[in-house]
Symmetry: C2
């Protein structure tokens, strides 16, 4: 297991690596706990949005911000290897946003979120979305101190993904099956997807949505609202 991504490449240096991995994850967990305490103290709901590249996280956020205007303030942390593209899209909705560029890095961590929250300074009672780096593998291992985890998956990605990437789907509080408007054009069995998802995560909530067309989007707002009032 690699220190940050859990990969097994470093077998040749096993003892060393395990020590480093434990140190890195323990350090991350400590910072995540601090983020969590601060967020709870401020009554802020922070949702960690994770997915493959191009599953529609930013489009989902654009629609969510516009539809929920007038409710609690929304602020966004954008994670990408490079570019400010997503931050620019979010900014165009009038929402405050901080872009984190990870360079060669493959996920956000608790330290990055800590710094982003300092810069963002979200209001007490607000809603913070953290759009993680598009990667169905590594972000699953890093607790950010978030209030909940939403995994977005597009119907174009195939129904087998929960079993092929179980760490990500196991960690989710809610899964948004996105781009259901494309269901007529792709070979995707929703029932099989649900069965595979429940095998790795029996209690997760599954919402079928289209972030571009709006199908099922009210279920997402209901989920957020229930999570906020817990």
């Amino acid at each position: 297991m690699c220190a940050t991504c859990g990969c097994s490449v470093t077998e040749h240096d096993h003892g060393h690596t395990v020590t480093l991995e434990q140190k890195v994850l323990a350090h991350n967990d400590k910072l995540a706990e601090r983020n969590r305490e601060w967020l709870v103290g401020q009554d802020i709901l922070a949702i960690n949005l994770m997915s493959s590249p191009g599953s529609g996280k930013t489009t989902l956020l654009e629609r969510t911000i516009r539809d929920l205007a007038g409710g609690p303030e929304i602020a966004v942390v954008e994670g990408d290897q490079e570019t400010e593209f997503d931050a620019d899209r979010i900014r165009a909705t009038g929402c405050r946003v901080v872009q984190l560029n990870t360079g060669a890095g493959c996920h956000l961590d608790a330290e990055m979120l800590h710094r982003a929250l300092h810069s963002l300074d979200p209001r007490p009672g607000s809603l913070v979305f953290v759009e993680n780096v598009g990667n169905l593998v590594c972000p699953a291992l890093f607790d950010l101190g978030e209030s909940g985890r939403a995994v977005v998956m597009s119907v174009t990605e195939g129904a087998d993904k929960p079993l092929k990437y179980p760490h990500m789907f196991r960690t989710a509080d809610v899964v948004l099956l996105n781009k259901v408007d494309l269901l007529p054009y792709v070979d995707f069995a929703v029932d099989r997807f649900r069965e595979y998802l429940n095998r790795v995560n029996p209690t997760v909530e599954l919402l079928q949505v289209s972030a571009t067309r709006g199908d099922g989007i009210r279920d997402w707002y209901t989920w957020l609202s229930e999570r906020k009032s817990r």
Copy 2:
């Protein structure tokens, strides 16, 4: 930079990490060079196929194997976090395949390919496809000793990806823009994609294909054939 994925989480332990990272990548590069020498000696063309989850790598391979039957033998190394799903699909084509499961790991490395080649024992003059773990980030950093790198991207993922994930696109010898049969139903500007791709990789070849319907697939076979005869 993390030892295996280049992430920047381990800043708090910088000296230690950089040393480990250098050790891991140097070790990988040494094994990759050994793989490369062996493959060249055997006149085997080994293509490292990389993409996001669900971009269509396995479907592309199924079609390629069926269409190129009668030519040089084809064998496949399948990389996934979990399951034998993809190996089963490849096996159904009559092709020999080895499945590598990485567990929590996020990419294949040269040592894994070395072991897989031992087990697969491909014939001299054959064609070996290595389907990497679905991940547009980490696999880019790991030389496997392959003869060439093909990055598959689906039109459903959005035209901005080359700039957002530059490490992956910079490393490609050929990019297959897949699922062009879905172009009428998604917002994807091919010209913008090409422009972004060429910004990070001016010499890469771009092929527009549909692995399910067959559009442009001959260009892929031509690319393979030219690569084989170099």
